[in-house]
């Protein structure tokens, strides 16, 4: 039986278990959890673990007969086996300690991961959350990619040309800011809307006006790489959760078996995934 999170191994009678974290959140483990995984790998596996491409940890070469025991150990520690097959995969999220994210997305990641952890869907579906336009978690090539964006207000008259926002080490990473004649301007084409400059500026010349989330859908990596399309831009975390719920409902009703969101868009168009069309 092919169960979610148990991957076939190369050795007969052995399997690889893919472990994802419910607490603290999908991309983060506590030191006790790492200890548990190390103990399992030593006792039941080959003593090696693989860190997967979607922030899960795979414990290799576990005897199929020992899988039940391993599950008990995992579940006691906020961990569980999952993120394979036609299920919602592990929600990718960026580090909540990163300097450049607009704000930490760990709460949203935990919420989504808990909501959809065991949800069966027509095809593989992955959600990636990025805290800024750099999109380290590959939001633009995920089935559902969320990128947090900051709206920056420029008060050019308040600028004292302290150069903090343009020079190393805190200066703009994409060189979107130019200083000239006691004023500051931001190049909209280059700006990735991370909002970091608003933390750096000490004179309220660059101010954080608001935040929003851009939702990309239909991207994929792997065998048929595709770039996602911008679907919507929403204001709050709750809106993101609601939009994803609506999207998954439509996707489940229109998609054929094994069809990913990108293929549905190719076959039926973007509108087929909008809730209005489904009453």
């Amino acid at each position: 039986m092919e169960q979610n999170g148990i991957l076939p191994g190369r050795t007969e009678g052995k399997a690889t278990i893919r472990v994802r974290s419910l607490e603290p959140h999908s991309a983060e483990f506590t030191s006790e959890q790492i200890g548990t995984i190390a103990d399992i790998a030593e006792r039941y596996g080959s003593g090696q673990v693989h860190v997967s491409a979607r922030q899960t940890i795979e414990i290799a070469d576990i005897e199929r007969s020992a899988i039940k025991e391993v599950f008990v150990l995992l579940n006691g520690n906020g961990l569980y086996a999952g993120s394979s097959g036609h299920f919602m995969r592990n929600v990718m999220a960026c580090s909540r300690w990163c300097l450049y994210n607009v704000f930490p997305l760990s709460d949203l990641a935990r919420k989504l991961n808990n909501l959809y952890a065991e949800q069966k869907l027509p095809g593989k579906t992955d959600i990636s959350l990025s805290g800024c336009g750099f999109s380290c978690t590959r939001s633009r090539t995920s089935d559902i990619g969320i990128i947090a964006q900051a709206t920056i207000e420029v008060n050019a008259d308040k600028c004292t040309e302290c150069t903090l926002c343009v020079r190393e080490p805190l200066g703009c990473q994409v060189e979107a800011i130019t200083l000239s004649d006691h004023s500051v301007s931001v190049d909209g084409d280059r700006c990735i809307q991370c909002g970091y400059c608003t933390n750096v500026c000490k004179f309220s010349s660059l101010v954080l006006k608001g935040t929003s989330f851009a939702i990309f859908i239909g991207g994929s990596g792997g065998i048929t790489p595709k770039e996602g399309l911008i679907w919507k831009s929403v204001a709050s975390e709750q809106d993101v959760v609601d939009e994803i719920a609506g999207l998954l409902k439509c996707y489940s009703s229109v998609a054929q078996k094994g069809e990913r969101i990108g293929s549905v868009i190719e076959r039926l168009g973007l509108d087929s995934l909008t809730e209005v069309n489904h009453g």
């Binding site: 190369r10 380290c136 590959r138």
Partner: protein, 299 residues
């Protein structure tokens, strides 16, 4: 502790010590805590039990008891007190871990594990070769190498500066297939296989060399005629997306290192500063866009 007296060399570049602060309101310049991004050796993607325990100890003793997994097989230990960074690094070096995978260098090699049942060729040893040869080498800009054992490409080879995919050419044995299983037709993602009674037909034009049919066939009717690696360059993912273009197909494992070395050297030679920029040089995809693939590869 005196570095020399302790016997450990701390001369490795500290590119992995990323400036990190606990929250945005903590003092920004010269933050008191740092995030540490660590890479494993010899394999970039495999951590042994000892290495996991070292990470656990470090995060408990010097950090906040949390670790973050990066999207490229790195562990990130946040909130390490700046004063204890040397002690932390010593602990990690002993376990075969070191800070890296950040800044303008060859990032952690993205690769798949040997135990995956899908891979056409075993990847771990070649991944190790690539990561010991090229890992953390200084580059004009960020440089990513992704290495996938099959065309499923979990490690995103299409979106890497250098992406490598193991591929296998399928051959159909003479004679009829006695089995009624039809598995080869079912697993093929490209409808490249037709089964007519006992006759298996391979439409080579449709084949994408994933080898799924070979793995599914219980009768050894379908086997690999040859296996090798496809090399793509110039992909990227992040603030913008680009897909790599193929520069070599069905090359052997020992040829890979030379090809990658060649691309790295060409990139180092030909990368310029971005337009209107004094700080940042181009990514590989921008160089290729400016020069064209052919003149990039030419001398």
């Amino acid at each position: 502790m005196d570095e020399k007296a302790s016997g450990f060399s701390l001369e490795m570049p500290k590119v992995g010590v990323i400036r990190g602060v606990k929250a945005k309101d903590v003092e920004l310049v010269g933050g008191k805590v740092v995030n540490l991004r660590i890479c494993a050796r010899p394999y970039s993607n495999i951590y042994s039990v000892t290495q996991l325990r070292a990470i656990k100890t470090v995060s408990e003793q010097y950090g906040s008891g949390k670790v973050h997994l990066s999207p490229r097989h790195n562990f990130e230990i946040p909130e390490i007190r700046n004063k204890r960074i040397d002690d932390t690094l010593k602990l990690l070096y002993v376990a075969g871990l070191f800070p890296g995978g950040a800044g303008t260098s060859v990032r952690n090699i993205f690769t798949c594990p040997d135990w995956c049942s899908q891979s056409v060729l075993p990847t771990q040893e070649i991944g190790k070769m690539i990561s010991t040869n090229f890992g953390d080498r200084d580059m004009p800009n960020k440089f990513t190498i992704s290495f996938a054992g099959c065309v499923n490409g979990c490690s995103r080879p299409h979106n890497a500066d250098v992406g490598i995919i193991a591929v296998g050419k399928v051959k159909v044995a003479k004679g009829n297939c006695a089995d009624q299983c039809n598995k080869c037709v079912e697993v093929c993602p490209r409808q490249a296989i037709e089964k007519n009674g006992g006759k298996v037909l391979l439409k080579e034009k449709n084949c994408n060399f994933c080898g799924k049919c070979v793995k599914a066939c219980p009768q050894n009717i379908l086997t690999f005629a040859s296996t090798g690696f496809k090399v793509m360059i110039g992909g990227k993912e992040g603030a913008s997306v680009a897909f790599g273009s193929v520069i070599a197909d069905f090359v052997k494992d020992f040829e890979l290192l030379e090809i990658i070395e060649n691309v790295l050297q060409k990139y180092q030679e030909k990368a310029k500063f971005r337009p209107a920029s004094q700080k940042k040089k181009e990514r590989l995809t921008e160089v290729i866009e400016r020069l064209g693939l052919e003149s990039f590869l030419a001398d």
